[in-house]
Symmetry: C2
């Protein structure tokens, strides 16, 4: 059965950009599950599946509807245990949560700084208005002021990736010899930036950039099906 | 058979303080393995087991000698698979490496800043002289200058623990419902600080401090067998 994935898009429905939706697109492909994407704009999210969540991703798998990327990944692994695991054991499940919190608190704030104007420009008029109001309230300043800090923050951002960089000296993926959901968590953040903004987050020589390129190759090159901004 | 653990101590042989040795003391207890500690001063490390490593911990398990805390933990899990796991699967093994790098690069530098003079004061004369020379070369400044930065760095240190703090809102241990080696990795760092220095790293109300207290209770309260500085 085809799993339905509600994914955030802007004007161009072929350019899903949400980091959390990318985590699940990769997770579905990792498990070899057939899925179909429902392009969803910000203002359409509250109506998804009768209003199950304020956020996407949301999936429908037959009669089951699940929101929240981590919960979806857990659901997929529990429901389809005969397919390649996203966690490879209970320890991997537990520690993927640490990596999710690390990614969310270390990588996401800076990418917001970098890409918030680009994300705004990707929306149609009503969604752009919503996005500006929502994000300006969250940041407590104008989007133009948010993005003004990005050059000043670049070196600190690159330094903040040092734990990931150091780990990649031991193994090719966060999941070890091959990728797990933890890789898709961090991949989702960098893919969000790649699709939204031409800003150069990483030096090409950075081992983190090389890991990201490996992730773009995974699952039949799924990440490359949307061109970089 | 009793496993021999070479542990770093200062003048007081009953106060092992090394973060990496504490990881292994906890790992041995977690697995219910009988061990005996060989108190080892800095200047004695090069002679441990014929000079196998520049650092402790080192363990001897019968004919096998292993250095490096992560390698020791992997060895213990592979050699004693019938006992409680330190990783709970291959995913846990892989992601524990990320947590090790995060702990080493996020927590260790600040604890060095906080505790380096206290650590110096714990050594006998020849070891204190070695420690000062070695660490002043590493930091590129006098120990007194290193420690002078600790108050200024405290808020940033506490903020840097936010991924751990946030994760503890989801589950009681890094390992999930119960602790794994990943918990002992971070525990080791905070235990090093606890034993070496009276400096208050964390607010008591901090969920991270509460997790640390839970870790002190683990394995029969092993961490509490050495009093706080």
């Amino acid at each position: 059965m085809t799993i339905v994935l509600y994914e955030l898009v802007g004007r161009d429905t072929a350019r899903p950009f949400s980091p959390h939706c990318w985590k699940i697109a990769m997770a579905l492909a990792h498990k070899g599950l057939t899925s179909s994407s429902v392009p969803t704009r910000f203002l359409e999210v509250p109506a998804v599946e009768g209003g199950i969540s304020k956020l996407v991703p949301v999936i429908r798998d037959g009669e089951k509807v699940i929101a929240d990327s981590f919960a979806i990944a857990l659901y997929l692994d529990e429901t389809y245990p005969e397919r390649p695991s996203l966690f490879s054991g209970d320890g991997g499940k537990a520690m993927a949560r640490f990596i999710e919190r690390w990614s969310q608190l270390t990588i996401h704030p800076y990418i917001n700084t970098v890409a918030v104007m680009d994300l705004h420009a990707m929306q149609d008029e009503p969604n752009a208005a919503y996005f500006r109001q929502n994000r300006e309230q969250r940041f407590g300043k104008r989007l133009e002021e948010v993005v003004a800090g990005r050059d000043a923050g670049l070196n600190a951002f690159r330094a903040s990736l040092e734990p990931l960089r150091s780990m990649l000296g031991y193994q090719p993926f966060i999941g070890g010899a091959s990728p797990l959901f933890a890789d898709y968590i961090v991949f989702g953040a960098l893919q969000w930036a790649r699709i939204a903004s031409p800003y150069r987050l990483l030096e090409q020589s950075d081992i983190v950039a090389q890991w990201f390129e490996r992730c773009l190759d995974l699952n039949g090159g799924l990440g490359r099906t949307v061109a970089a901004a």
